[in-house]
Symmetry: C2
Subunit: 201 residues, 2 copies
C-alpha cells in the first residue's frame, strides 16, 4: 500500500467512526481535517468532495459487512449451515457495532436508511443498492438450497429473505431500543422456526 | 368541546402533520404559530413549552394508533381472529401513513425511534413507553389465546410479539424503502405461517 493509499484508508476509517457517532451527513471535510490534524486542502487531495468521501464510507461499511457476515458463510455447505452462518454473523454484526452517543444505533445500514430517507441523491441510492444486493444474496442462498434439495421445493427465496430480515430487524429493535435481555434467544428461536419450515418435507 | 380545547386540538393536529414532514424535533412553536396564523404568545397560552407540545403530539399518535389498529381487534374473538385484525390494521396503518418528503417514513413510531435514538429525555421515554405498551398488548393477545385454548400451550407470548413485529418491520422496509410490490403478499404469507405455528397441535 502506498503512503497515499494508506492516508486515504485512514481518512475513510476516521470518517466512518465519526459517522457512527454523529451520522454520515455531519461528517464534513472541515471537522474531519481537524480531527486528523490535516489541512482541508490536504483532505481535498484525497477526496474531491464531501460526497465522494461519504460514498467511500458506505463502500467501507459494505466491505466490513462482507468480511464479517458474508464471507464466512461461503465456505459452509449449502442450506441450513450456510444460512445459519449468515444469521449468526449478522447477530454479531448488530451486537458488536459501535453505538451512537446514547447507544441505540446498531446496524449502520439501518441508521443510514433512516438518516437518508428524506434526502434523495447518490448517498441514498448507494445505501439502497447495498441493501438490495444483500436481499438478493439471501434469496440466492435459499434458491441454491432448494435447487440442491436441502430446502423444500415450496420455499420461495424472496419470502425467505423477507422472513430472515424481519427476525434481524426485530432483534435489532429488541436489543438496541427496548434493551431486552431476551433479544438473542428470541431471535435464535425465530430463526430455528424459519429453518424448520424451509427443511420440512 | 370548549373553544380552548378546540384550538388546542387544532394545534396538535397541525404539529403532527408538520412532524410527518420534517420530524418532530423541527416542530417549533415559532414555525407552528406562523402556520396557524397565531402569535407565539397565543400558542404559549395552550402549551407552556415545545416539549409539552411534542408530548401531546406523541399522545395523539398513540390515540390514532389505538383507534385504527387496537380497538377494532377488541371486538373480535380471541386467538387468530383478534390477531389477524391487529395485523391487517397495522398493515393499513403503515400503508396509509402520510410520507415524508421523499416518501419512506411510514410508521410514525419507527420514524420517532430513529429521530430520538440519540436524544435521551422525556420525548424518547414517551416513544419507548408507547412501543413497550404495544408489545405488551400483543403478548396479552397471545396469552389469552393460549389460556382459552385457541393457541397451542407451547406458544410463548413474548416470542409471538417478537415474530409479529419482525413481519411488520420487514413489511415496512419492503414497502417504503425497497418499494417492493410484493411487500403485502409476503407480509401476509409470513403472518399466515405465524398463525399456523400458534394453532398447531
Amino acid at each position: 500500500m502506498s503512503k497515499g493509499e494508506h492516508t486515504r484508508q485512514l481518512i475513510v476509517s476516521r470518517a466512518l467512526a465519526m459517522a457512527h457517532r454523529v451520522g454520515l451527513e455531519q461528517v464534513t471535510l472541515g471537522s474531519l481535517a481537524n480531527e486528523l490534524d490535516l489541512s482541508k486542502s490536504g483532505l481535498f487531495a484525497h477526496f474531491e468532495s464531501k460526497e465522494a468521501l461519504q460514498l467511500e464510507v458506505i463502500a467501507e461499511v459494505v466491505a466490513q459487512f462482507t468480511r464479517t457476515v458474508v464471507l464466512p458463510a461461503l465456505g459452509m455447505s449449502r442450506g441450513s449451515e450456510r444460512a445459519s452462518t449468515l444469521f449468526k454473523g449478522y447477530l454479531r454484526w448488530i451486537h458488536g457495532r459501535p453505538q451512537s452517543e446514547s447507544g441505540t444505533t446498531g446496524c449502520m445500514f439501518v441508521a443510514l436508511t433512516y438518516e437518508y430517507d428524506d434526502r434523495p441523491g447518490p448517498i441514498r441510492d448507494a445505501v439502497l443498492a447495498a441493501q438490495r444486493e444483500w436481499l438478493d444474496a439471501l434469496a440466492r442462498v435459499a434458491k441454491s438450497a432448494v435447487d440442491y434439495g436441502m430446502f423444500s421445493p415450496h420455499v420461495d427465496p424472496r419470502q425467505f429473505a423477507f422472513d430472515f430480515e424481519g427476525i434481524i430487524m426485530s432483534y435489532q429493535f429488541a436489543l438496541k431500543v427496548a434493551r431486552s435481555r431476551a433479544a438473542e434467544p428470541m431471535a435464535r428461536r425465530a430463526f430455528t422456526e424459519l429453518l424448520a419450515r424451509c427443511t420440512a418435507r
